[in-house]
């Protein structure tokens, strides 16, 4: 039930200088030797998986982590060469790499350009050095400024900056100060991801919070920060297109949107997840196993039933502020959305969590269903209703 043969690629680079205190991603420090070995294995996986994707066109690729900018630039180049060599890549494909300001430099950025990377995602999180230190980040605001300038000089015209709110000890003023500083950049970033901090089990922050050692903003302040963030970014010409993502017109992250519209994507590397023709699976999270056999380590293989596809259509699609299209639902599943989810939709509309609207489309108009402002704040509460 895939609508087209567009394909997205995700590459997981699980290395970092040291783990941030809030991070629960699969990553950690590693020796240069291991890193090289890993990149080789990754390329092996890229080559092998290509055999099944002859018909597909890669429309986006994303190098995430960990800290991909920690890898040798020539390894990144070789990786992308392998991609171009083995896959049909659309000429306008969006190719992003995550950059930690503490690990990049002019040379690396140039190498990325050369390799065909056309989008950077820079992890800033905060413009306040004290807040950065409290998060366990390895860089300062100054270092970020340098990298940002160098990136522009190197010719990157599509840049995302990650910022976080609801940090320990953060005030509303300091939260907005970070945004102000980011918006004052010349030129300002095309895309801003604004997350509010979530404590994940197993992270040092979680432990610290449980022990009462973290002074976190209360829920009221958290929401206030979030609303103010939305307001400020809106005024500056950014549109919120996903729960935590804002972009200038035409600069939404295509790769990110692909997840929510259930495009096929292949994940490469440690613990990377894939969705391909309604089959979800994950690579192993064990480095030893992955290095031994990158392809033989698929886990949690799951063929999605029609019901599960519907569920995903809803709870993923609704993360986008434009919501889900009733027409598209009917096209994909051959049944009206209301027929499956009538009561859940009614209740959610009544509760002020969802709203209906129409937007112009090729043949007239398209009926949409989307989360309201309140719905976005309590999306889990609402989305749980769409499990069958």
């Amino acid at each position: 039930m895939t609508e087209n043969r567009e394909l997205e690629l995700y590459f997981h680079i699980p290395f970092c200088v040291r783990k941030c205190l809030y991070c629960d991603f699969l990553s950690g420090p590693a020796e240069p030797g291991t890193r090289r070995q890993y990149m080789e294995a990754l390329m092996g996986e890229v080559r092998k998986k290509a055999e099944d994707c002859r018909e597909d066109t890669v429309v986006s690729a994303f190098l995430g982590g960990g800290t991909p900018s920690l890898a040798d630039p020539d390894q990144i180049e070789r990786l992308l060469e392998a991609v171009h060599g083995h896959y049909r890549v659309a000429p306008d494909a969006e190719i992003t790499i995550e950059v930690n300001p503490g690990t990049a430099d002019r040379e690396k950025l140039k190498a990325y350009q050369k390799a065909g990377i056309n989008r950077l995602s820079i992890g800033l999180q905060s413009a306040d050095d004290e807040e950065l230190a409290a998060l366990g980040r390895i860089h300062t605001w100054r270092q970020f400024l340098d990298i940002y300038r160098e990136a522009r000089e190197a010719g990157f015209v599509n840049i995302n900056v990650d910022v976080m709110s609801a940090l320990p000890g953060q005030s509303l003023e300091s939260c907005l100060k970070t945004l102000e500083k980011v918006l004052d950049l010349e030129p300002a970033p095309e895309h801003i991801s604004a997350y509010s901090l979530i404590l994940e089990e197993g992270t040092p922050f979680f432990e610290m919070a449980s022990a009462g050692e973290l002074q976190l903003p209360d829920e009221e302040l958290d929401r206030l920060m979030y609303r103010e963030t939305g307001r400020m970014l809106g005024e500056a010409g950014y549109r919120r297109y996903e729960i935590s993502n804002y972009a200038r017109e035409g600069h939404e992250c295509r790769h990110n949107k692909g997840y929510w519209t259930r495009k096929n994507y292949l994940g490469f590397g440690l613990g990377a997840a894939s969705l391909y023709n309604n089959m979800r699976y994950k690579n192993t999270g064990s480095m030893t196993e992955y290095l031994r056999d990158p392809l033989g380590s698929r886990e949690e293989m799951q063929r999605l039933s029609r019901e599960e596809q519907m569920e995903e259509f809803m709870f993923l699609g609704l993360r986008l502020t434009e919501g889900v299209s009733l027409e598209r639902f009917r096209r994909v599943f051959g049944v009206a959305l209301e027929e499956i989810y009538g009561p859940a939709v009614e209740r959610s509309v009544k509760d002020g969590l969802l709203y209906r609207y129409s937007r112009p489309a090729k043949n007239g108009k398209e009926d949409m269903l989307a989360l309201t402002e309140l719905g976005l704040d309590v999306s889990n509460y609402c989305l749980a209703r769409f499990l069958l």
Binding site: I198, R223, A273, R319, D351, L374, D377, V378, N380, A384
Partner: protein, 604 residues
């Protein structure tokens, strides 16, 4: 051999909890060789799963084994197990009445503890010969000599030749068996007299009907005897008699005076075979029943509702089946605005309630919502009518009530001297009336109190244990009804009264209980999209309030492609949680909130 009374020993084992009663029972059964080791389940006597998990014995059971003693003769041992909780005190007393002696197990390290005394005195009250056994002598901290002296000093029974054993490791079990032969008297009674047998338990079997567990005191019973239960007046012809092999019934010719065994007689309901009743021969009845029979009454009531309303018939069927086996369980249908169709059920006490609840959930796979347990109140109305109130929401308009009465118990609490103060304080808090105190051995005291039953059903036992570090034992008898200033406490959630949360409370503690109840519910009720006031009210007047704040944030801010399975799990968990909720108005209340009134005491 069956008729040779001199070769029969009817006994029980008494002990403080965890001193090794069940383990010793297992060893006795093993050593007497009636079972092969392969047949041995770990604890043969406790054959309900539930009992094994809780480590307590719920229903009295019995086992018959054959022991070839050092004198070369074979003896029949009837080991009768006794329940170990105050809810079942009456059953315990009937089991003891079926014995001629008791083996007292004392932990070689811990020595005498509260229940040791309570159990010994209970056994001595029934004129049983008691001999001690020192268990766990292989523990590093064992001090058998001290424990022997303690037994002789405190209890006043001879202990210098007590077997020093380890039931767990099978050390010296033989010595226990020999002393059972030597120290426990053979039963008396004349097989030729009119039949007089004590019922100490009965169970329902779908093939045989009711199986009566009994001790024959006088006379003989066999197939064809027309028996009569003297209290319930039920009469049937005996189909089969027999005795208790471990885990199975072994039919025999007859049971005569001094023997312990079972009788089946196509009886359909255990109601007809009440524990403590006397079985006699309808054609040649004994002159009077055995002493000590009491009609068992439900002391504690609560509402039980299926979590899923459609399961109501299943709950009804399950209760019907449990009732076949448990005469002390009562139930009748009722309807709650909040919980729908269910039953008001009566129990002996809180443990009994919990056991039934767990059996319904486990054996019958039912998901239950249980309301706060309460006692039976008597409501005297101005028009002279007296109402027995088992459900607080049925309390009539206060203007039509002349006065109300609550059940009161006479309680005896045995406690080590250093804890007298804190136990008296506890009784005071529970509206106890002090009657007196006796010192025993200078280190212990027996406190006598009258206490309202509704003050002790919830957690009194726990509070007693924690405030005395386990050095208190507690026994009570229902004394009767007394007038009390009682009020109905109502709970309003989002301004709607929730009938299933109402309860009766003494007027003086209404405010305190109301406040705690609101606090508790505030923690139990999840946030909604709107603010939810939780209020406690007496007679329409609000006496306490808490607020569940509106939900502001419930979002997975950062979510990558790889997190989708995880995200779905999160949503599934949320959805699963909803299933265990009750919709009241537009508020979803978790089912366990209805029991939360139980856990209000934090004063321990």
């Amino acid at each position: 051999m069956a008729a040779d009374q001199s070769r029969i020993r009817n006994f029980c084992i008494v002990a403080h909890i965890d001193h090794g009663k069940s383990t010793l029972a297992d060893r006795i059964i093993e050593k007497t060789g009636l079972l092969t080791s392969r047949e041995m389940q770990d604890q043969v006597l406790d054959n309900m799963d539930l009992e094994r998990e809780r480590g307590i014995t719920i229903k009295a059971q019995a086992v018959r084994t054959v022991y070839k003693a050092r004198d070369g003769k074979e003896y029949i041992f009837n080991l009768i197990d006794t329940p170990g909780h105050v809810d079942f005190n009456y059953e315990v007393s009937r089991s003891l009445a079926a014995c001629d002696g008791a083996v007292l197990v004392v932990d070689a390290a811990q020595g005498i503890e509260a229940q040791t005394l309570a159990n010994v005195y209970l056994a001595l009250d029934h004129n049983l010969d008691v001999f001690p056994v020192i268990n766990k002598i292989d523990l590093p901290s064992a001090d058998p000599q001290r424990v022997i002296e303690e037994i002789e000093d405190v209890i006043g029974i001879e202990a210098h030749d007590a077997p020093l054993i380890s039931a767990k490791n099978g050390i010296n079990i033989e010595e226990v068996l020999e002393q059972i032969v030597a120290k426990i008297p053979a039963p008396g009674g004349d097989p030729g007299n009119p039949l007089q047998a004590l019922i100490f338990d009965s169970i329902y079997d779908s093939y045989k009907g009711v199986i009566i567990f009994c001790r024959v005191m006088e006379g003989t019973v066999k197939k064809g005897t027309r028996i009569r239960m003297m209290a319930t007046k039920a009469e049937e012809e005996v189909v089969e008699v027999g005795y208790f092999g471990a885990g199975r019934f072994l039919p025999c010719e007859e049971l005569s005076a001094g023997m312990v065994g079972y009788i089946t007689a196509s009886i359909k309901n255990v109601k007809d075979t009440a524990v403590g009743d006397t079985v006699t021969d309808a054609d040649r009845p004994c002159r009077e029943p055995l002493p000590g029979y009491k009609r068992v009454q439900s002391m504690v009531y609560c509402g039980m509702y299926p979590a899923d309303g459609a399961k109501y018939p299943d709950l009804r069927d399950a209760l019907e089946k449990l009732k076949l086996n448990d005469a002390s369980l009562n139930y009748e249908p009722e309807t709650s605005a909040a919980l729908g169709f269910g039953f008001r059920c009566g129990f002996l006490g809180l443990l009994h309630l919990e056991i039934i609840q767990e059996r319904l959930e486990r054996e019958y796979n039912l998901d239950l919502v249980t309301t706060a347990p309460g006692v039976v109140y008597k409501v005297y109305r101005t028009d002279g009518e007296v109402l027995e109130l088992t459900n607080p929401s049925n309390l009539p308009d206060p203007s039509t009530i002349e006065h109300m009465e609550e059940p009161v118990v006479s309680a005896e609490i045995m406690v080590a001297s250093e804890y007298i103060g804190s136990i008296m304080e506890l009784c005071q808090e529970r509206r106890g009336r002090y009657l007196g105190m006796e010192y025993i051995e200078g280190t212990r005291a027996l406190l006598k109190y009258e206490l309202p039953l509704n003050e002790i059903i919830y957690d009194f036992f726990d509070a007693l244990k924690s405030r005395s570090r386990g050095y208190a034992s507690f026994d009570y008898d229902i004394k009767g009804y007394e007038p009390a200033k009682l009020v109905k406490l109502d709970i309003l959630i989002n301004r709607e009264e929730v009938d299933a949360l109402s309860f009766i409370v003494h007027a003086d503690s209404a405010y305190e209980r109301g406040r705690k109840m609101c606090e508790k519910l505030k923690d139990e009720i999840p946030r909604h999209l709107f603010e939810i006031p939780i209020q406690a009210a007496v007679g329409g007047k609000i006496i306490a309030r808490e607020t569940v704040k509106a939900m502001r944030k419930d979002v997975l801010a950062k979510c990558y492609g790889g997190d989708i399975t995880r995200k779905k799990k999160l949503l599934e968990k949320q959805k699963e949680g909803k299933k265990r909720m009750r919709q009241i108005g537009n508020v979803e209340i978790p089912q366990k909130a209805f029991m939360s009134v139980l856990k209000l005491d934090d004063r321990k």
